[in-house]
Symmetry: C2
Subunit: 133 residues, 2 copies
């Protein structure tokens, strides 16, 4: 396995572990590999959330909208990794609470930007969205 | 200027030139640095467009919705570039046609993923979105 493949595998595992932490409501796990100055573009407003505290708050908002048990499922994941910079492109699905409390699957798109610092991959950017209607 | 800075500058210029091509309705310029297998997450549906022909069609749709002259303005742009992989994070503004034909500024978010092939930076992914309301 060449270096690119090692890095690609590391980034893929990071994202799979992060998604599992989201499903488990494990905030320490969600934040474990994230930069203090992360820039987050989330599904709901605001347009941009800057910094790890604002990023943490996006998850509090997320959980208020979600049906139990929490879904945060990776349907497709492509990783492009160099030695120092990587990004990942994913098709994802969660499940929101409908008006009558019913469970409604919600497909969304996810792009993640990472850089390697001290030999560790760190998430510096996330972009979550659904198409505008 | 170290290599990272050279690459960062090259990616920044690529994105600035691409945005200018969008404003000028210059389709050759829009497509000049894009991969045949680009994966596009656009503001309107569909959820995902795969390949350069589908990507081209997203621009035809874009122009039907835009007020003249075309706006496609970079408000903030951050580039993270390694030797082979890079991504860019931007706050952008275009201008749509309102119901009465009036010009309505529209803020959106943009993430771009690139890889270097044969010493040239190539866009392999774009993610454009507005927050869900």
């Amino acid at each position: 396995m060449n270096t690119d493949k090692v890095d690609e595998k590391a980034v893929r595992e990071l994202i799979e572990n992060w998604a599992r932490s989201v499903r488990e409501r494990n905030m320490d796990g969600i934040l474990a590999s994230h930069a203090r100055d992360i820039v987050m573009f989330d599904v709901p407003p605001p347009r941009v959330s800057r910094g790890i505290e604002a990023y943490r708050e996006t998850w509090s908002l997320f959980y208020t909208s979600q049906a139990e048990p929490i879904a945060f499922d990776i349907q497709e994941l492509d990783v492009v990794a160099g030695a120092k910079v990587a990004f990942a492109v994913a098709l994802m699905q969660c499940a929101v609470k409908g008006r009558m409390g019913e469970r409604e699957p919600l497909d969304f798109r996810l792009t993640v930007g990472l850089r390697k610092e001290d030999e560790r991959w760190i998430v510096v950017h996330e972009h979550h969205s659904i198409p505008a209607t």
